[in-house]
Amino acid sequence: MKYLDEYRDPDLAQRLFAEIRRITTRPWAIMEVCGGQTHSIIRNGIDQLLPEAIELIHGPGCPVCVTPLEIIDKALAIASRPNVIFCSFGDMLRVPGSAKDLFRVKSEGGDVRVVYSPLDAVRLAQQHPDREVVFFGIGFETTAPANAMAVLQAHRLGLRNFSMLVSHVLVPPAISAIMESPTNRVQGFLAAGHVCSVMGTWQYRPLVERYHVPIVVTGFEPLDVLEGIRRVVLQLEAGRAELDNAYERAVRPEGNVAAQQVLSEVFEVTDRAWRGIGVIPQSGWRLRNAYRAYDAEARFAVGDIQTRESPICRSGEVLQGMLKPNQCPAFGKECTPRTPLGATMVSSEGACAAYYQYGRFIKAEEVGVAR
């Protein structure tokens, strides 16, 4: 596929690996913010082929993983209602709430449907005027324009049976929170390419300056990721801290202005809890007052659902880069993709699941595959 295959070329990848090895003189800890990048790194075995000195820390950039337990429990409560069609992206179905997941709710009679796009949920609301259609509106800045458009479209169509359970999160406040953390080890960031396609790169300049940390906007294919790493290492080795864009084909400095306009029409910034991390100020979006009629949380009065997270799971530390998944005592024992304790084990984007699925506790050497 054009714009994909070129960026998976094995020979060019080897050259980039060699170049990174060449320019790396001492240990660096680099965080890829985005779960999609984590997925690409593990699925392609990039981390195994990088020099030992480069440590990749998997960031909190998987929306499935960071959606707070409380919101999951609210989703489960709403999806269990008899008259509700609950629509979700596929990867949310296996995320465990306190007692169950959406699959279980479905098996108990809830009408839970996987949709590919939020507009599919709007269409369902049109087709079932006698049912309440609720869309689980999660995601980062990349997904938010789609969800905002779904709300606008429902509004335009006068659909009174459509609502959204909104739990949007934002990348820059999360980077701030990581840099502010007393235990932080991250020295450079690969910024999430698709988030930046929407929001532009300008939001990251203040972070670069405030924390004196290199941030390189990075794509998702192996060569993209390697180039992002190379550019971060170049800065780190040179003692520089700049905002750089290694995903220029898809990211403009100003981002997608049309999308940003709709986002500020529909959403407003709010404090948001991140699963395993806690509340990060001004780190999420919620519906503006003008669209509060579409807020599922209000419509279904699930406001007073409150939940504690699993005491064993250390996904918070994993998400903050303080712990590698296989350093969690439960990893691969109590906690597997089959019986996830934390959300990071659920989504195949989640750092724990990615480790389990593609790397597990065995090293490439032990697998015995010739390089």
């Binding site: 596929m1 054009k2 714009y3 994909l4 070129e6 070329d9 020979d11 060019l12 050259r15 980039l16 060699a18 170049e19 060449r22 985005c34 779960g35 999609g36 950039g61 998987c62 929306p63 992206f89 590919y116 796009s117 939020p118 507009l119 599919d120 995601g139 980062f140 990349t142 997904t143 324009p145 789609a146 458009m149 479209q153 335009r156 169509l157 999430a192 390419g193 698709h194 988030v195 396609s197 929407v198 998702f220 060569l223 180039e227 190379r230 290694a246 220029e248 084909r249 898809a250 990211v251 403009r252 997608n256 049309a258 999308a259 709709v262 984007e349």
Partner: protein, 89 residues
């Protein structure tokens, strides 16, 4: 996060006042919302996420990036061949 896949716009149309398009992903054609790319035209490539085109792919930048990779490779190969020469020397 945010699985985004490049595809080529094949057709643009209107659905209930929303700008939509048929986008081809190597033979798979999907209806995609183009509302956020008011300037995109048939033939352009875009990144699609959850049914929405979020950005236009810039061919010039893409070629430059690939050229850069090639040059890194060349640099690297030069270095390696230098090293080999040194060793041989």
């Amino acid at each position: 996060m945010c699985l985004g896949i490049p595809g080529q716009v094949k057709e643009i149309y209107d659905m209930n006042g929303i700008r939509m398009g048929k986008v081809d992903f190597n033979g798979i054609v999907k209806d995609v919302c183009l509302a956020y790319l008011p300037d995109i035209t048939v033939g352009d490539y875009t990144i699609v996420h959850v049914g929405f085109a979020i950005t236009r792919l810039d061919e010039q930048s893409a070629l430059e990036t690939l050229a850069l990779f090639q040059s890194i490779g060349l640099l690297d190969e030069e270095l390696r061949s230098n090293a080999a020469e040194e060793e041989a020397a």
